[in-house]
Symmetry: C2
Subunit: 420 residues, 2 copies
């Protein structure tokens, strides 16, 4: 919902509010709720059934007046994470992690860079259980065949799984929902699924109703471009609700449903899942979460992380090349500037020369040199940041892979000693 | 260690390498290791006793050549987190969180903004125990009486404790070390200590050797400015090693020592702590980490979080005012520009006027208007980001306080029902 830019923004928020009040859910997770004013509107509208709410604000935030102003100016960005949680249960704690990579600032038409993508976590207590709920929105995919953002999305998926893994050790139940902008077979989604152990509610539920194939971006929806989706059979599934239990709690997805493009809430279809929590009997006593030997999954996980590492390396190579190009162009601009200054110095030494000095073109060329220098320096800094972010992700992946391989080795050893 | 800017940079890294090899520690945590080249130098030098190493790279990173280049240009920043870990034990996993606020970019002389402050986490396995080690570096304090960075440091302390609390649920032992830039009685440090349960090794150890009062910034050190420290009795304690056990493991600090300013390693004194881990007997069976009623600490924690909230609100008020000033100045620049254009338009309509048009001053004024407009727009965006970050921190604090108050109420109820 970007005011003035998005179509029928306020009507849609009113519709969303009505839908949520009608459904009376336990938790509602929204993305792309950019303006604080719209959040306050929903908060008030939903206060009866969803008394607790949190909008993840940071960063690149804008207050309401700025929001109106910039949106009007198509400077839609600087507008926070856009992630919001409405809940029937008290929100005990909230935490936000911002992804280190999120597109390119100069790709203004794609606009992802301006909308600070992030993952938010809230802690709830539902019937004595620690329930950690994550909500996120990953970088959009604009062209599947030649996806220049693939390394960015893979790094985001990596950081998402790192955040979930590192922050959900104390949870009885983990839920994740959001617009992942990845197809179910995509590298980033496999990475997320395998490394966190989160299950996809669409593939796990016994009762599904809604669009064929669980599509959440549908050609029937009035806000989508049907021509983008014909190649995929009229729809794609890129929004997910994922879940995981723990050693104490079993969780199962009782039902999953999607809206079907008829009511114009959003360009994406809404997903609704019902879960059943069951406390496990404490039969096997005090089992601390040891590095359990699920060796059938380990090799697949190692392969997936290695695949992601390769993708990140490709991205690294690419952005190093871009940085090199920026540096080269910058040096050319500098040389041109020095030449200009030399030309300007000539009349000083050769006083009384006849030719008139070409002032206009001189200033124009000078301004051009400065523009080239400034933009290449900015690009160089930006690509340097990108290189470091990719390197950090690759380093982390290397550590995790070597740890997993160690674990696999021990498992195989343990199994073979069991057999002998 | 900033090359060219810092004094005797390479000699100091060589000295640090020798010291660490001599001590043969289990884990060494460094801050302000800005250049990858220096990290590689140390990694090789320490490879015998510290075979595992990780440098937290992201963001604002720079490769080696850029590092040299920018350092020479006093653009020292864009140079990563500066946090590094050297370890005798395999590093299984690494994760980085970047603070949302870190000074002001226009305070170039303080330079904190350029050095992307962050907290890094590594997971180690020491004798079968999950040991999580955190290393961080908070924003420096330049003037204690009128500390304009106080809200930034409080938000950093808040985010640090959030990161530690959220990511250390699965740990047997938690260690935190770093330059916190806070005195022991400071709000941020109390917040960190109370909310995470981490203990300060200086106050907990039975055997301390080194500077009086545990000082880590000392007037005797050749790299400090003694005049800054005379007000504090010749030194301050702003670097810490903190620790926490778990329900399974007891941890105690056997000894703590500091260097004493004689060998010129760094402007801060090095801290060395020895810890003893003891696995607890599993007497009380399978005790899940329930919200234990430590009601004697709860009121203090609530007070501290409220104090931090007040501080953040003051900062919020301040940065909203700054943003307002930026907007007002920007509008003045805009009005001036419009006036200029009107003046420029006059000769077009009044052709044949006698007075010569004052070209030079016209262009000068125009350039000034543009400069004012550009800088105020940048400042406005920057302050908007600051406001959002402060708001998010305040929102999180509000959630946590209300959760804690709920907990306190239940505790009091439980206690009174016990008594009756």
């Amino acid at each position: 919902g970007i005011r003035f830019l998005s179509k029928k923004c306020q009507e849609r928020f009113a519709l969303i509010g009505e839908l949520l009040n009608q459904e009376q859910l336990d938790i509602a997770l929204l993305q792309e709720l950019w303006c604080e004013k719209d959040f306050q509107f929903l908060k008030q509208k939903l206060s009866t059934f969803y008394p607790y709410a949190h909008l993840f604000k940071r960063q690149d935030g804008a207050d309401e007046s700025f929001c109106k102003f910039t949106n009007a100016l198509v400077l839609s960005g600087f507008i926070g994470s856009g992630l919001a949680v409405f809940s029937r249960y008290r929100i005990h704690d909230a935490f936000l992690y911002q992804y280190s990579l999120n597109g390119y600032p100069y790709m203004v038409q794609h606009g992802d860079w301006f909308g600070g993508k992030a993952v938010g976590k809230v802690s709830l207590n539902i019937g004595g259980l620690n329930v950690y709920v994550f909500v996120t929105h990953l970088h959009a995919e604009y062209c599947r065949e030649k996806d220049q953002y693939l390394p960015h999305r893979v790094v985001q998926a990596w950081e998402l799984q790192q955040f979930i893994r590192h922050t959900s050790a104390g949870a009885d139940v983990v839920l994740l929902a959001g617009d992942l902008n990845m197809h179910p077979e995509d590298l980033g989604f496999r990475l997320l699924r395998l490394s966190t152990g989160l299950q996809d509610s669409f593939s796990q539920t016994s009762s599904f109703s809604g669009c064929e194939g669980g599509f959440t971006l549908l050609s029937e929806n009035p806000f989508t471009h049907p021509e983008d989706l014909t190649a995929f059979g009229g729809g794609i599934r890129i929004d997910y609700i994922m879940f995981k239990g723990s050693q104490e709690v079993d969780i199962s997805c009782e039902s999953l449903s999607t809206t079907e493009g008829s009511v114009p809430y959003s360009d994406h279809e809404a997903l609704t899942a019902h879960f059943l929590f069951r406390t496990k009997e404490k039969g096997n006593g005090c089992s601390r979460e040891e590095s359990s030997c699920v060796s059938e999954d380990l090799p697949e996980l190692i392969n997936t992380v290695n695949e992601a590492r390769t993708e990140v390396k490709v991205g690294l190579h690419c952005s190093e090349r871009m940085r090199y190009t920026a540096a080269r162009t910058g040096i050319m601009g500098l040389v041109l500037l020095v030449l200009e200054l030399a030309i300007a110095a000539v009349p000083l030494f050769a006083l009384g020369a006849e030719q008139p000095f070409p002032k206009a073109s001189f200033y124009l060329l000078g301004a051009l040199c400065f523009a080239v220098l400034f933009s290449t320096v900015m690009l160089y800094i930006f690509y340097s940041m990108e290189v470091k972010a990719l390197q950090e992700a690759e380093d982390q992946m290397r550590l995790v892979v070597s740890g997993l391989q160690e674990q696999l080795k021990e498992c195989t050893k343990a199994q073979s000693s069991d057999q002998s």
